[in-house]
């Protein structure tokens, strides 16, 4: 089923490629993004990356409308940095409580030594 879905998605992506292309790729205004990114920017690549990142966000629990808006807010460069790698990127979200006891003690020690800062209540030695 998953393979089937992916296959459908690919067909859809290819068949709708032309729809999302800015007219500026043919004539008219040269975008600021184009100038700052140099001439090597491939818009088809960016379009595919956007579809991939949006799918990635949805797979990580974001609903489809929000995912679309979030991808739209990213620059081409940022989209390229995420494509393929959403799973590996740091996601800041530490819950400062919930740590198990052993880890707690080690981290407490390293906190006191000033190497880490997991607990708000520690005062490191100077």
């Amino acid at each position: 089923m998953n393979t089937f879905n992916r296959c459908i998605a690919r067909v859809l992506i290819v068949s709708t490629l032309g729809m999302g292309m800015p007219a500026s790729s043919l004539a008219g205004i040269v975008s600021t993004d184009q100038i700052s990114g140099g001439a090597g920017r491939v818009q088809v690549k960016s379009f595919l990356d956007r579809a991939e990142v949006q799918a990635g966000l949805q797979a990580l629990g974001v609903d489809s409308t929000a995912a679309q808006a979030r991808v739209d807010a990213l620059s081409d460069e940022e989209v390229a940095s995420l494509a393929d790698r959403i799973e590996q990127m740091p996601a800041g979200g530490t819950d400062v409580l919930g740590v198990v006891l052993v880890v707690f003690l080690i981290l407490l020690l390293t906190d006191i030594l000033g190497l880490t800062k997991v607990f708000p209540f520690t005062k490191p030695v100077r």
Binding site: E77, G92, L115
Partner: protein, 315 residues
């Protein structure tokens, strides 16, 4: 060494290595304290920066709301959850923090990865969002906090962090956690305000990235950039492009004309001027501009040729 593993001796070695490490001053703090920037105040605290205690894993939305509201936009951590939080990762990605700030019409500026730059920005009145790895490189605990103050004499930094409204850390302790976060930092600024440590490239990168989602604020930011760097071609063309995107063709023409006057070899500016003049029904002037772009050429020559073709065939 392997045989020692698990013995009290191993623990002793580990402990002494740690003590040794802890005793070392961190490189950026050492450099900063040895030679603080002349204009940097010794002590600053932006007490007016709001505080949103973090819920569960949502330090990203909380930190972002802190900075965004301080910059003058309206939002709440709850509203930002839908823009930056990833439920399955229980966290927020750095690029999404930047993107969400832009969606609020604010410049998402990335200062240089230097403690002195972060402190300079705080002194300039901007709270700085920082990514910390609170634990180890091999077992990271990523966390966003907002730096709002420091005290050089006490060697301390003050953060809005998690559920602490005023978390005081030693600068060295902070630098270690921040270094493990890749020295990543960002600020959110109204488009009329230049960062204290702004460089041409860094500032314009931030503005260009904003054009897609917020052309109006981006246009104002280009004006801010041109005040400081009047010769910047990218900002000049960006000013024209944002005006064009907002259907203000007269302003777009003026910006492109100024760009071609200051930079006669800027083919992109000539090309965009041609397109704008064409839409203003001034075909003859458009033709001259389009021919100029093609004559100069460059990597985007096919695009200039396409524009010239459309101008020639119009009417």
């Amino acid at each position: 060494m392997v045989r020692l593993a698990g013995t009290p001796a191993a623990a002793g070695v580990l402990l002494s290595v740690m003590l040794l490490l802890a005793g070392c001053a961190t490189p950026q703090v050492a450099a900063l304290l040895e030679q603080p920037p002349e204009k940097l105040p010794r002590q600053v605290e932006l007490a007016a920066v709001p505080f949103y205690p973090q819920e569960a894993y949502q330090c990203g939305p909380a930190a972002l709301a802190t900075a965004v509201v301080h910059a003058g936009a309206t939002t709440t951590p709850d509203a930002l959850v839908a823009q930056v939080y990833l439920p399955a990762r229980e966290g927020s990605l750095q690029v999404e923090m930047l993107a969400a700030a832009r969606r609020h019409g604010l410049i998402a500026y990335r200062p240089a990865p230097q403690l002195r730059d972060v402190l300079s920005e705080i002194a300039g009145g901007a709270p700085v969002i920082v990514l910390q790895n609170l634990a180890f490189s091999f077992a990271p605990r990523w966390h966003y906090a907002v730096a709002i103050g420091y005290d050089l004499a006490r060697e301390e930094i003050i953060l809005r962090s998690g559920t602490s409204q005023r978390l005081v850390m030693t600068l060295s302790n902070f630098e270690r956690t921040w270094a493990r976060g890749g020295h990543w930092a960002m600020m959110t600024l109204a488009p009329e305000r230049l960062p204290a440590t702004a460089t041409e490239d860094r500032y314009l990168t931030a503005v260009v990235a904003m054009e897609r989602v917020a052309p109006g604020p981006a246009r104002r930011a280009y004006a801010t950039a041109l005040e400081r760097w009047p010769h910047n071609l990218l900002a000049r063309i960006g000013q024209g492009n944002t005006a064009y995107a907002m259907h203000d063709l007269a302003a777009a023409e003026a910006a492109y004309r100024e760009a071609t006057r200051r930079h006669p070899d800027a083919a992109d500016a000539w090309n965009n001027l041609a397109q704008t003049l064409l839409e203003l029904q001034r075909r003859d002037e458009a033709l001259t501009a389009a021919q100029q772009a093609v004559a100069i050429g460059g990597p985007r020559l096919p695009q200039y040729q396409a524009t010239l073709k459309i101008v020639s065939e119009s009417r």
